[in-house]
Symmetry: C2
Subunit: 450 residues, 2 copies
């Protein structure tokens, strides 16, 4: 049996490894467009920012290591077409500049996502940190000099990038069409994130369109023209969301969902196509709260889904249980986290909810390092169940989101949460953990209604 | 209605406040033996260690603040007897050195716990950090000088104390009769805690009995005689567990459970005694995994139980849902946490279990500050349910225990845990959170058996 993997990062190589581990007799061949395998895309902003210098530290498993495990890794090999009928891939070998055909019995599509440049003049000069080689080019460009940067997009990738560029000593302006940062949070919680980033030196232009990136004679950005005026720049980077890369899959006739990502079942199988699996940034995941497909581009899902695709491709029976929308990021002085659905998402989905926000302390107030933490809980007014949580705060705040994720996952109600046996010691928590206080506040909101 | 509160710390004053909030017409009178109310006993080791200098920072609500809320707080007032028939307390007013009688309709017993000095010669010269005034005396003694300390007991209180004394520049030896530190953990996990404390400079004498504390002419400790030889000392402190203080309640005829603590129902009522409530370190709590009563002395339970007692005393209907044995502490370079039951506790209770230990990283390995984390999961081999968890690791490790607590609380199985949507970002987690990896390792242990 020959299993082809399209894409050599988290999802693809997890699939390759899982299949090979489960059945060493399978021939596994992985095609990767770039020069790296299995790297942490989420870490690229920190590499660009100079938090560490060796890009190889982002690589969790090199092509050589995969080959030692019996996987045939083909680098700089771009799959250009999937023929499901003939069971053949068209592969462009970039180093030899020629196309070949490769047969397969089963295939895992792990083509990831791509940052589409905005449809404005000069967009071709924007830099990104989506792939490791793009990140390396970006960093090399920064080292050539120029102290003014514009980041397009005030989502978590844009904010991480802005923080890292400020830390390099650059003057950074984040421009976004929307009227709040971090639209994955409700506006009331996102305001704290913006405060923290501004205190770090990031400047924001919200509700602002970028009309043109003006290039100099060498083709490098020198000004950004926006709906509120011009900004001088040396670097423009895209921090906007990426689109699931389904071009190959679509051409092969596979089903694309309403989210724009590939449809898969809970075994990561592409419906209607035997022996075809897909995983990672290019697929839909089932959202357990919304009970609907979503496209969430995160390394943690890519790894899990890849493994599940690999196990199933090798004759196993593994199931991806879905997601609850958990995400976390570091934005300047604050840790920022969310899970479940926000109030805005509930409204959009027509789900009735109540919410409560509390401000508390990350540690006992007398313990050094204690600082503010805000917790917002969104709950179902009928059952009291936690539907969503958002956290912004100093060190120790973010990972608390996992408790809310577990509560959402299992259907815990806010009054039950408020009395749960969560850990307490002065270096880690006030005697009432902020989550208990938030649970109680949400329970009171529900009582008020009844 | 007159509600008497015996004990002015976490449980007692939570009860007083909750009752008064619920029904401002109730007369609430609180008797406290010492000079403080509502202080963080868990913070005393850090005050003794000099992490901060003002003992008042440990006080979350002063007697004046409670009085402003309408609670009649009587300091230095020691309740010496409860007459349930006559509904009268005998109170010794320490400042006036006289006994009075105080009537009551309902009473909340929140007498806490006491550190019994070991039955050895010289034990009267040991110092403790159980109450804030004892902590103040202890710290004043340390400031008079002497650089050698013996800590009796290698549990979490003893270890916290040892760390803080080392941080003051003292030479510290922890002596314990048992053959491992932190018996709240399994031996394999406790070994890491001992390693970390030794690296910090703490010396251990395990499997060692203390036979005598030899005093000098001024009545101060100068040597400790142990079963393995003598140690010169300037200070001896008790870090051993405390006993629930049920002396008053026992004399009043209330039921004492097998744990040695006061029996209460899930409304914090003392069975068979109308209008009598108890809460905090002196009572039993229902352990949801063992389905048995336990005595857990932690501020977080004291606060919750106190509030529930107060609400119910004021005519409400609140229920304490029990505990799962969650605890966390900082021991030198490691954060240490546990929840549910350990392998040893499972064996002792005759509960069949499997377990798995994994070592992983607290953050993405390339992210600064990443360090080791060990996670042990104890699970039911039949259902796969998580029965217990233990964590030792560097910054960011400890609070992860709350996710396992939530899993135990709700009955999540290890294979479900291994795919749960926990948060990932390089500053906070590897792409597979250590809890996911531990869940998977435990699931594999179960598969091996079947």
């Amino acid at each position: 049996m020959r299993l082809a993997i399209i894409g050599g990062d988290a999802a693809g190589m997890s699939a390759a490894s899982a299949a090979k581990r489960r059945d060493p007799g399978i021939e596994v061949i992985a095609f990767e467009r770039g020069p790296y395998t299995s790297y942490s895309a989420c870490g690229i902003p920190y590499f660009v920012g100079g938090l560490f210098d060796d890009a190889d530290r982002l690589v969790s498993r090199s092509p050589e290591e995969h080959r030692a495990a019996g996987i045939d890794v083909r680098l700089r090999s771009e799959v250009r077409a999937i023929d499901l009928g003939r069971r053949v891939l068209t592969v462009y070998e970039r180093s030899e500049q020629r196309e070949t055909e490769e047969g397969f019995d089963e295939v895992v599509i792990a083509t990831g996502a791509y940052a589409g440049a905005p449809p404005i003049p000069g967009a071709e000069a924007t830099e990104t940190a989506r792939t490791l080689d793009a990140g390396e080019r970006f960093r090399a460009g920064l080292e050539r000099g120029g102290g003014k940067a514009v980041v397009i997009g005030a989502g978590y990738i844009g904010l991480e990038m802005a923080e890292n560029l400020v830390d390099r000593g650059m003057a950074v302006t984040v421009v976004d069409q929307g009227d709040q940062v971090m639209r994955t949070l409700d506006r009331d919680m996102a305001a704290h994130v913006q405060d923290g980033a501004e205190a770090h030196g990031v400047r924001f232009l919200l509700s602002t369109d970028i009309e043109e990136i003006v290039l100099d004679g060498a083709g490098r950005p020198c000004r950004v023209r926006t709906s509120v005026g011009e900004l001088p720049v040396d670097h423009v980077t895209l921090g906007t969301g990426a689109k699931p890369d389904v071009r190959l899959a679509k051409d092969a006739g596979l089903q694309i969902g309403e989210t724009g990502a590939l449809r898969v079942d809970d075994h990561q199988r592409c419906p209607g196509a035997d022996g075809v699996y897909a995983a990672g940034d290019c697929v839909e995941s089932h959202h357990r709260v919304l009970d609907a497909p979503v496209n969430v581009q995160l390394g943690t899902h890519a790894n899990k889904q890849g493994r599940i695709a690999g196990v199933n491709a090798a004759g196993g029976d593994a199931r991806f249980p879905g997601v609850v929308g958990t995400a976390v990021s570091k934005v300047c002085k604050y840790e920022v986290a969310r899970t479940g659905i926000t109030e805005a998402e509930a409204e959009q989905a027509g789900i009735e909810c109540v919410s409560a926000i509390i401000k508390h302390s990350t540690r006992a107030t007398y313990y050094p390092g204690a600082g503010p933490i805000w917790v917002k809980i969104v709950a179902d007014p009928g059952s009291g169940r936690v539907l969503g949580g958002q956290i912004v705060g100093v060190e120790g705040a973010a990972k608390r989101i996992d408790v809310l994720a577990a509560c959402i996952w299992t259907g815990v109600a806010v009054d039950e949460l408020s009395l749960m046996d969560l850990s307490y010691a002065p270096p880690y928590s006030p005697v009432y953990d902020p989550l208990l206080v938030a649970g109680r506040a949400a329970a009171r909101e529900i009582e008020k209604r009844s």
